[in-house]
Amino acid sequence: MKKILCVPFDPVHDVGIKLIKNSLAERGHCTELLPPDLSMEEIVKKAAATQYDYILVSRTLGYGVAELLARFNDLLDAAGVRESTKVVLGGKPITPELAAELGFDKGFGEHSSIDEVIAYIEDRPLNGTADNHKRTKPDIASHYFYSFRHKRIGELLDTIAEKTLHWAEGKSSSGIERCKIQEELSAVSDPSQKKRLTDRYNSLCDPVIADANSKKIFPKGVRYITDDEMENVRLLIREKQPLRQQNIRHHSRQPLIFKFLGSGCPTMDIVHAKICERYGVNGFLIVNPSWEARYEGLLHGLLTHENDGTITSEENIRLMRDCLNPSTLLTVRAHRGLNTPEMIYLAAKAGADMTKINLVYGSLGAGTDPERLTVDGLYAMKIAAEHNMAFDIPGNDELSGVPAAKSLAGLLINVMLGKKLGAKAILKPLFCYGPDIVLHGQMKQNFVDYNAAKIRALRSIVDAPIWPGEPIAFMTQTEERVQSANATSYHAALAASTGVDAITIASTDEAFSRGPITIASRIDSIRAVTDAFRFMGDASFQPTAAADNFTDDFVRKIQSALETVAAYANLPEAINAGALGSKEDGAYPGKFGKGTVRNSEQQIPNHK
C-alpha cells in the first residue's frame, strides 16, 4: 500500500486526478485529495507535514505554467520532500519529456491510461499491452436463417432462382474450366501433370495473361515483389506492435468496420492495414485493378502494381492474410468479371474469409455479359458454399443511375440463388447520394429517411445480414477533409442506429481521384467514426414519417421489379431486357465475355 497525495494544481480541470484517486483507493492505497484552491506554499507545507510515497500533480498548460511548475518543484526540493517522495505530473498536454524537463519524476499525458498510472505507482509492468486486446474473428452471417418474411417476394425469388438454375444447368465457360484446373493443380504433385495442366490453363487465358504467366512479360506497371522487399515487410510486421490498441466500436452491437485495400502494392496495403488494425478496423476488402476483371485468366505470383488496384493473385492474398491479425476479416472481390469462380477458389485457398458476388451489378454496372456472369457466378456461389465463405452483394448499380428498388431487387435475387446453392449472402445496399436520388429528390429533406428505409425494407423481406456500402456516404463526400470525415461519420452513426452488421468506410481523400489513398487520410475517417460511435452509444436516429413511406414504396417497387423479372425465362434474359435497370436508367448490359458460354459437351476454345 502506498501513501499518495493528489494535488489538483488547477482550479477547473481536476476530473482526471479525481478518477485516478478513486482507482488507487479501490486498489487499497491510502490516498488524499487536496482542494483545488490552495496556494503553492500551502500545498508544499501539506506535502512536507506527512511522508508520502507519491505526490500526483494535475495541471493543464498555459502561459507561464511551465515556470510555475518548475518553481513548485524547487519549493518541494527546498522543503526536503523530494528526498523520499516521487513527484508525478499529469494533464492533457503533458508529455514524459516535458515532465522530465520540469524536474518531475514521471509524466502522464492525454494518451496515458489510469492503468498506466497505477502500474507506475505499484512498480509493476502494465498489463494492458496488445496481448490483452486479443480479438476473436466475427462471423457476420452465422446468426441469420435466410427465411423470407415477405411471402410473395419469397415466392417470386424462388421462381426466378429455379428458372435461372435450370437455364444454367450443363453450361460452362473458360472461367469455370480454369477454376477446375486450379483445383486439379492443387491436388497433383507430378511435374509433368502440373505442366500439362498449366499449359491447358494458359491456353484458356487471354494472351496478355498467358504471356505474363509463362514468359514473365507483364502488363505495364506490374512487377514481382523482390525478396528483399518481402523480407523487410515481414521484419517490420514482426518488430512493430500496436501501442494502446483502439476500438472504433463503443459496444459490440455497433457494426464492424471495413476498409478497402487496393493501392496496387501488397506491401503498401499491408502497412496501411496494420496501422488501421491498431485504430480498430475489423476487416479489409481487397480491391483489384479493373483490367483484372476484363481479361480471361489471372496473374500468378507475388506482384506489385503501380496503378490503382492490388492484383488478387493467390500469393498476394496469402501474403496479406498472413500479415493481418488472425481476428481481422479479409474479403476478396470477385463479383464482376471473367474470373469469378477461380478468384473465389484461390481466395479461399489463400485464407480469405469472405468474397463478393453480384450477378446483376456485375452485368449492369461493371461490364460483364449477363449470361457469362450468371453461369460463372452460380458456379462461384457453389465454391463459396464449399469453403464456407459468405459473399457480400454490393448494390453499386445504383451509382449508374439504377433506382434503389431495382438494385435491392437484384440483391435479393442473389440471396435466393445463394441460399439454394448453400452459400450465405450479405446484403449491401448503398448509403449514397446516387444519380436517381439527385434526380428525384428523395434526399431533399435529409440523408436519414431514405437510407434508413432501405434497411427497414430489406429487414421486412428477409432475415439476412446487412452491410451498407460501399463505402458509406458515397457521393456525399468532397475533397475537403473535414467535410469528408463528417459525412462518413454521420452515415456511420446512422448505420449503427439501424443495427446493421458492418459498414465500409472511406478515407478523407476518397474523393481525390488523382492519386493513391494515404494512411493519414484513413486515420482521419477512422477517428471521425470512432467519435460518432462514442457519441451515439446506444442512442439512435429518429427518422421522420417520410421513412415509413419510403419503406412501403421500396417493398412495393421491389415486388413489382421481381414480378417483371419472374416473367422472363431466366435472369440473364431479364437483365438484357432492362428489368433490373434500363438504358434510360443509365444501366447497360455488359459485353465482356459475350458469346463465351458453352454447353458442357461443347469444347471451350483456346484464347490464343
Binding site: 522487399e229 523487410n232 503501380e306 496503378n307 477533409r481 488523382r514 492519386g515 494515404t518
Partner: protein, 76 residues
Amino acid sequence: MSALNKVIDAVDVETYLMCSDAHQGHSLALQLGKEMNLGDVDIMFEEFDGYGVRVRLRKYIHRPAQKYHWLESDPQ
C-alpha cells in the same frame, strides 16, 4: 536519417492563403509547394471565399510499387 524517407506515402499541407481571386490562390498554392521544396504538388482542395483561399496540397513521397525507403533498415 531523412524524415521525408520515413513518410509512408504523402505529405499534405493545409493552409489559408490571402489572395485576390481563385486564379491567384491556385498559383500561390502551387508556388508554396515549390517554396517548401516539395516540387510539383497536387492541389486536393481549394476554395476561394472572397478573402483568400483554403487549400490542401499533397506531395507523394512514396507511390505504390516504388522503392520504399522506410522499409529499409536505418544506416547504423
